[in-house]
Amino acid sequence: MIQIPFRVYTQILSLSRMNISQTSDHLANAINSGSNLRNLGQKTIHLPILELVNLGYTEKQITGIENNMLLYNIGQKVQHINSYFHTHPSFLQSVLINKYFSGDLSGIIAESVFVYYLILSLGISPYHIAHLRPYKKSTFVTPDFIILDQNMDISKAFSGVFGQLQYNGIVYAEVKGSMGYIEPERVKKALEQLSRGVAHSNQLGIVFVLNRPGINHYVATLVLVRG
């Protein structure tokens, strides 16, 4: 298992009122330096369970990463894992089914940790989360995740920081993973993406960043946004 410190940005950002470029610079700086963040404590991530979360909610799979670390480090695709995961007729093509392995996994690990946190720390039902990232390239409007927060678990989790949050139960989330410090341009892209769905509604948005400032040192940051 690994321990990841979680932090939350101390303000809720208003997407309809802010200059996204300037805010992105400021946010990236806050995430990288640790300023303006409230500590949410260390969360324990059980890796065998994270593997199963990964299989359900991301496009690629991280299973077998320990055994394939050499290939992973040089960014080479590991072919046999692809066939290993075929449990269905191969003519069936769907984003729900296709899983593949490639060297670029930081985003996938971040997505898995985010869903793990939602389900195992915040108590959101696994059936109330949809991974929409595969549709983003063709539609431009889908966030990485949509969360139907029926019991307002997110509001409850952050009530100590922000008080009672008012929203319609729909939460859009953008997830960014980085093997070093997070760049402002990537934060900007996340905010732009969220602004399309959240800016003119009574919905909540989350930017989740999982980065690795040092070897074996992951840090997770949540930023809440609204219209």
């Binding site: 059980h46 369970i49 449990t87 191969s90 003519f91 539609t139 399309r196």
Partner: protein, 232 residues
């Protein structure tokens, strides 16, 4: 909760079906998916598909407009146009439409007879029992993987008792189990081999690395014994 035409409970139902399909695919339960979609798809509201179609048409217009611009100006203009045009659709309805289209696509693939299926080899069929469905995959003569879908993970007490029974019956040494809400993990060791079992929500995965070649019946008995015990 009403969200400008899309009821929260309808959206919840669509997202639930999406995850249920994902679960059924985990064990390769194509019949289960067909049944689920046949039961649920008749409730599809055409308005979500229409909103998705409307957005597709807007994207086509944006694409066309961008082709008139020099390449270096396109990204900035695209962001600007997307921000402007997305106000003319209900994004939640578009997302519901995207998911419904995905369901339709899967349903069509399963319902149409295809020549491909006659040429498809080694399609593993899931085994359905009262409390679980599982799929056994043979990786090599000594390595297997079993994937199961169960109703729910056991509580800690049931889980610990189950591990003791499994270890005793099959003469394995069990590791200290880890059980948390929605997740479990344990390992079994012996001179015969190593078994890793992990579960999340309704999914259970077992990986077997054995010292000697065994037939699939041996593994099936072991898999079923483990599943019977953790679903008690």
């Amino acid at each position: 909760m009403n969200m400008e035409g899309l009821e929260f409970r309808e959206f919840l139902e669509i997202v639930k079906i999406y995850n249920q399909i994902s679960d059924l695919l985990w064990v390769g339960d194509i019949e289960g998916i067909k049944t689920l979609l046949n039961e649920k798809l008749f409730e599809i509201k055409i308005q979500y598909l229409e909103e998705e179609e409307k957005w597709r048409n807007i994207l086509k217009e944006i694409k066309k407009e961008l082709t008139t611009l020099p390449r270096e100006e396109r990204d900035k203009k695209r962001s600007q146009l997307l921000a402007e045009k997305c106000k003319s659709v209900e994004i939640n309805k578009v997302i519901a439409g995207i998911l419904l289209k995905e369901f339709q696509k899967i349903k069509d693939l399963f319902s149409q007879p295809s020549l491909d299926i006659f040429f498809e080899k080694n399609v593993t069929v899931p085994v359905k029992k009262k409390k679980y469905t599982y799929l056994l995959l043979q990786i090599t003569d000594k390595n297997f993987e079993a994937r199961a879908l169960i109703e729910k993970l056991p509580d800690e007490n049931t889980f610990r008792k189950a591990i003791n029974r499994i270890a005793e019956k099959w003469k394995y040494q069990a590791s200290e189990p880890q059980i948390i809400k929605n997740g479990l993990f344990f390992e079994l060791f012996s001179a015969e081999g190593y078994i890793k079992v992990h579960g999340f929500h309704k999914k259970v995965r077992m990986q077997f690395s054995l010292q000697r070649t065994v037939n699939t019946d041996y593994i099936r008995n072991l898999v079923e014994f483990i599943l019977e015990n953790i679903t008690q």
